[in-house]
């Protein structure tokens, strides 16, 4: 599936295979992971909550918009949810195109749109307690 939310870790090669074609000379892969520090807080893990049906339809829309907006061949957008310790994969975006420039641009645009629109929320579990991340705000959980 080119667009999905999952609790399983990503098979990056499988994602690339999904959009491989002989005319593609460029595959740009963005892989997001859980980082150990955020704004000075030491993070143990993130708990991702998702509105599954809406997240998938919003990701599908973003993919279709990217295919219209950029001269690319195809794109994969996967997002994880559940309990994810530091170092775990969180988001994967892969874009294929003839040349690298449009693939880099489309990949960056897709990641920005996912962060802006897709109904997924993270709660940080830190040494100082738990915090909901709401856009740019941090609210004690």
């Amino acid at each position: 599936m080119k667009v999905m939310v999952t609790q399983e870790s990503f098979d990056v090669n499988r994602a690339i295979e999904l959009i491989s074609n002989p005319e593609s000379g460029a595959y740009v892969v963005f892989l997001g992971k859980v980082r150990a520090h955020n704004r000075g807080r030491k993070v143990e893990r993130l708990i991702y909550e998702v509105y599954g049906e809406m997240a998938v339809s919003e990701m599908a829309k973003i993919r279709e918009e990217a295919l219209r907006k950029f001269p690319i061949f195809d794109a994969v957008i996967w997002h994880r949810y559940g309990d994810l310790p530091v170092g775990e994969d969180t988001i994967l975006v892969v874009v294929s195109s003839a040349h690298r420039k449009e693939a880099f641009e489309a990949c960056s645009w897709i990641v920005d749109e996912v962060k802006r629109r897709v109904p997924v929320w993270k709660k940080e579990v830190t040494e100082e307690g738990e915090f909901w991340i709401e856009g740019d705000r941090v609210v004690r959980g």
């Binding site: 909550e49 509105y51 809406m54 339809s57 962060k115 629109r117 997924v120 929320w121 709401e134 856009g135």
Partner: protein
């Protein structure tokens, strides 16, 4: 008419449940539903809608699509109320 309201993330914690079915007046708008929910759940009123620009941070979807506050709802709709997203 009957609608289903779903809550996510911090709003789910505040309300204490992830969804509920509600009997609401026919043709109620999204904005009117928010007023209805503020009365029903004082914790939302105090923690989410307490500021002057109280709708600025609240996202609402209707049947899985983002919706504006003046849109009218229909029987059987699923409305979700949630904070700004933070995926990635």
């Amino acid at each position: 008419m009957k609608i289903r309201v779903r809550y996510f993330a911090r709003y789910r914690s505040l309300v204490g449940k992830s969804e509920e079915e509600l009997e609401v007046p026919d043709g109620i708008t999204v904005g009117e539903l928010i007023e209805f929910l503020k009365e029903r759940h004082p914790e939302l009123k105090n923690e989410v809608f307490a500021e002057e620009d109280d709708l600025a941070d609240v996202n609402v979807s209707r049947n899985g699509r983002y919706v504006k506050f003046d849109e009218a709802l229909q029987d059987g709709d699923v409305v979700a109320i949630f904070p700004p997203v933070s995926g990635g």
